[in-house]
Symmetry: C2
Subunit: 457 residues, 2 copies
Amino acid sequence: MAESSSSGSSGAESIAIAARRAFEESQLVDPAERNVALRAIHKILNERREEVLEANQKDMEAASALVDQGKLSSTLVSRLDLSRAGKYESMLQGVMDVAALPAPTGLVTFAKELGPGLELHRVTCPIGVLLVIFEARPEVVVNIAALAIKSGNAAILKGGKESIHTSTLLSNLIAQALSSTSIPPTFIQSVSTRSQISSLLAQDKYIDLVMPRGGNELVKSIQNSTRIPVMGHADGICAVYLDESADEQTAIRVTVESKIDYMAACNSAETLLVHESILSSVWPKVAVALMEKNVALRCDPSSLDALQHIQLAAVNCTASTPSDYTTEFLGPTLAVKTVPSTAAAIQHINAHSSHHTDSIVTQSEASMSTWCRGLDSANCFINASTRFADGTRYGLGTEVGISTGKTHARGPVGLDGLVIYKYMMRSTVAGGSLISDHEKGGRGYTHTDISREKPMF
Amino acid sequence: MAESSSSGSSGAESIAIAARRAFEESQLVDPAERNVALRAIHKILNERREEVLEANQKDMEAASALVDQGKLSSTLVSRLDLSRAGKYESMLQGVMDVAALPAPTGLVTFAKELGPGLELHRVTCPIGVLLVIFEARPEVVVNIAALAIKSGNAAILKGGKESIHTSTLLSNLIAQALSSTSIPPTFIQSVSTRSQISSLLAQDKYIDLVMPRGGNELVKSIQNSTRIPVMGHADGICAVYLDESADEQTAIRVTVESKIDYMAACNSAETLLVHESILSSVWPKVAVALMEKNVALRCDPSSLDALQHIQLAAVNCTASTPSDYTTEFLGPTLAVKTVPSTAAAIQHINAHSSHHTDSIVTQSEASMSTWCRGLDSANCFINASTRFADGTRYGLGTEVGISTGKTHARGPVGLDGLVIYKYMMRSTVAGGSLISDHEKGGRGYTHTDISREKPMF
């Protein structure tokens, strides 16, 4: 690869080439060294805490000034803040938690003897070089670096520009920690400008996967401008559906938590579908519970009608418009629609949602089965809050994000979403193995399953 | 989805919407019906053989005329021909072979109890709607249709324009067969013009995966023009590497078969790397064996020098140029290069190959281990012909193609490369399950592994 790295290369190309080379070198390093690297990162971040918090203070001041000018939301400033109680410790602990997880690579997922002395293994391995684009929170640099190292992938990181001082320093400290280990220091690199991103998106020769974590617009714009595969973490337009046989208490509990527990989360509900047969029974109770929590309801004519006798509804309910059913409100608003059947609810969701997480409240086994089979969503829930859609809650150990794509990894993505596999085949037959030994009158194939306990190499 | 299918939709959009609707409807059909559909397709293709062969005759005549005008290669004409002995039977048999395979969907790959009465299953399911673009061979229509149906994916197919009469008829017969089953007839559709492809590539709302089977240029141009994920089946620039300790017979056998067994195949060798220490021992024997099979060698200075004393070399060996090492010759030419070590061989391959299939000939365990870990190729072979890289030879049951990508599926792709998964979660707790029941002072998570024998629905 050396020939491509001439001094004439653009900055982005040099970064991509360095990442590729770091990845390739790291493949010959004992995977146990990845945990050594994680411990080194933990140590340096612990020792240099004051310095990091000073850099973070600079970002915070710049951001506060922008808030004063009305150019930035104050929510963003609170996300930037690494000095909040417990935040730094939890970032440090995250590194050790990732170290403690089982390695996702080196697992044999398929193993066959093709014939005597000829064995085939399919072994999980890193994807290669990742380009990860994420939001303002600076601790994500550390989190993603830890996941990349654990899974054996080199990574190029681009955080939000508001956290530039913090994330540049964190990234430098990570490189410094790596330089004391067998993992190359360029295994984790970070870039800070948007123009570098567009040049990096052209480096499909060196970068294997782009992971944008952000809204639909970010994901689409990246998909539009690269040949590199994209694992998007986009909007969550999630729904709760109250079926004909919905239990009242379950309906209230699941709908209220799915809506209000953490309204900015992608797994919060934005749409409520109500079976027409419960418009005058369960629905008003659910509506009141929501309105008491200050949720504004945007209702279709039937669900609006059903609330006419309720005083609260006069201020909290309005008629919905079609765009309400495709909006990620991320706040105290819920779009409500009446449907005649579970099949109709599924049809609505498949056409309007982001295929993220949807929950049915029902006591009917038939509806549950139709729901789980017919719904084209990553997470199909029954009588449970949409807020469960999360790698940690699922017991995946950690979470890279929640993929809204339908290939490679879908839904909450754990470390196993950062690996692919390669086939290794070894012949111990004298003179080696040819297909002509097995085909065209040769001895045929045995195709016997063999032990998958450990990879041949 | 009905609202999108207005009469003003473009042709491509209507096709994509019809495919999506067929996919969604099919999700509620018993998966056993997929085999009923395959048997119906087998039956109709068997009954209407004469008609298909007549259509094929038309394509053959048109193609022969183009060959006469020098506008088409005669190889292509022979690939078009369905009337060759055994070809039609083997196409029919292929459908029944796919029917006999185990279903790749409905498998539980992860199952946990999150707490008493709250169970989570990760269950394999179809990806959705596939757009498959392939070469001239008309039987591929039937092959891909069978794989799509078996895996539960709706498909839109675009074959080579030279096979238009045959593939249109095959596609109509498939739709006719489906209309007698519970699978919607629009589950498999085919399009015939290139302009439809570019419109279809914009339908990312309805199409989930594009599978181009063809050269690098086709794959790259598609990756450049769509937001839809692409599973490419591109070039094979495969290498054989003769290590320091290579056994002479193995070196000759593996190199010769990898090169000449089927030169147009993507898993044939295009590059030979030779360790410098065997330039005057093993290499000349291998070179003579290749030249006796009429293979032209394009050699770097050291490997060329080593053949000076060999008469055959005077006509069959020439000096290589840098582009020889990145060329898929698909014919009797082999690029040869001397390397000082296994690590250098790996570096050359990682930088120049298509990451498809590469084989080392060695007796050294250390070299084998370095090879399998350091080589960034889908298929890393030891003392075996590159021609083994194939789904049927691997015992995958069938092959969708050989993916040169590094996400979702890599190397020979069987039916399990056409599926993804969804999470199903069910609460049987009275009042349903909320995260607040488990977190913030709640009862916590048990995260116990549970049976994966069958999906909850």
